[in-house]
Amino acid sequence: MLALNHSDLTLRVGSIAVLCIYSAVILLLLGILLLRFIRLAKERRRRTVTETWRPLLAQCVVEMPDRLPTLKPRDHVAFLHLWNHCFESIRGDARTQLNELARRMGTDQFAKRLLRARLLRRRLLAIVTLGHLQERSVWNELAVMLQADNAFLSLVAAKALLNIDAQAAIPLLIPVMSHRKDWSPLKVVAMFEAVGPDLAAETIAKAATQASPEIAARLIRHLAATRSSQGLPPLRALLQEEAPSDDVLSACLFLFGQCSDPRDVSTVREHLNHTTWYVRLQAASALGKMGVEEDEPRLIRLLDDDHWWVRYRAAEALSNLPWMTPEKLADLCGELSTIESHEHLLPFMAQTNVGKTVQVPTVAPHSHRA
């Protein structure tokens, strides 16, 4: 009897467990179906918004359409994605017309509300949109976002501020750039693309002069990407006023080489005998780009440096000098007294010789026939 009761209880527990598992599976399936349905509905809505608005936005680039369809609130996010995409695909006066269209659709008000959204991606969308719309009323909110823990959010806010008013944004951005370690220098340079290379270079250089050596060195290295020499004066002043760290110094020398301004040659020469090997290395590389004939012996002396990389870069710099021909390089190689210096120059000699043979491919067959 006891055994029967026991088996009855086990059976009941088993049935309940099976029922629970089945229910869970069914609920899970229903959940998946619901999610899929929501996703498909969203996708369909997005496609409808794209199909309706893409031709109108394209038309708006040339002329403002007379009639515009109504935009349902639930479609506004999809519209914002499309509008921003269009905005970034064109430049010039056409952007003004796109802004006008957005304001007619109430996009500025919608984006302002979205700025307080819980989802980060919506807040980012709002910031980008308000930046494109040059919406001054959100200036203070965006300025606060520069200090946000999320690096991406703060960078997007910085770009929006630059879009709204670059001149007013720069004094806000310089101190932020000089203390945020999480801002990628590449992103910083890209952020300044819209304001023009000169202003970008000057601002980044000023931020570097106020930053810790670690951040400063990274910013200075990426200044070359702006292709402007406007960043050089603040850095020259920095080198004259105080003794910068080796990292900052080597970054400055790298930049001097990239910009090749003759005014910096003497600074580069001064550091060829620096105690830190990577400062000597950057000085040698820079001299290869901006040096004059009298610098050749200086680079030759560096072929006997204690550090392998300095010798290597000195050899590369010598081979890169504008007046250096393969014959001259071969003569120089013959005159070198140490095996190390000779070995470093050989690969670069080989490179210049390869170039020479490639340039005259038709000579050999003719001379052979003769």
Partner: protein, 139 residues
């Protein structure tokens, strides 16, 4: 005389994979009186190059999903009929490497993205005018 007057009836082959940009360019070009044939990938563009008569000009994006604009340009220049068709490259990359490579392969101009509608029309008109002058001189 507007650009639409000068360019009416001229055909442009536009190879651009990015839908929004393609739609914008197509609208701007049509508004300026051009007839636009659009291709959104390299393979389709190649088949067009081998089958259709050369258009008056080609707008060619450097970055395509299945090939590069430069490879497509090289292919285009191997086709006898397409040797003199003016080609403008569309690029977001202003690095010298791209433009130099494109020039070596036979590109006649390059237009930097994002595109200004006014600039696009002006550059295309100039490209067609220069090409027309060259062909008249040769004839």
């Amino acid at each position: 005389m507007t650009s639409a007057d000068t360019s009416s009836g001229l055909t442009i082959l536009m190879v651009e994979n990015e839908e929004v940009t393609a739609c914008l360019l197509e609208f701007v070009l049509q508004k300026n009186g051009y007839r636009v044939i659009h291709s959104n990938n390299g393979e389709h563009a190649k088949s067009l190059i081998t089958t259709m008569e050369p258009p008056d000009a080609v707008l060619l994006d450097i970055f395509l999903p299945d090939t590069t604009g430069l490879d497509l340009l090289a292919y285009l220049r191997t086709q006898e009929q397409w040797k003199k068709t003016p080609v403008a490259m569309l690029t977001a990359n202003t690095e010298n490497l791209d433009t130099r490579k494109a020039a070596l392969l036979g590109a006649n101009d390059y237009i930097v993205k994002p595109v200004s509608p006014t600039q696009l029309a002006t550059r295309l008109n100039r490209l067609l005018r220069d090409s027309h002058k060259k062909q008249t001189r040769v004839a």
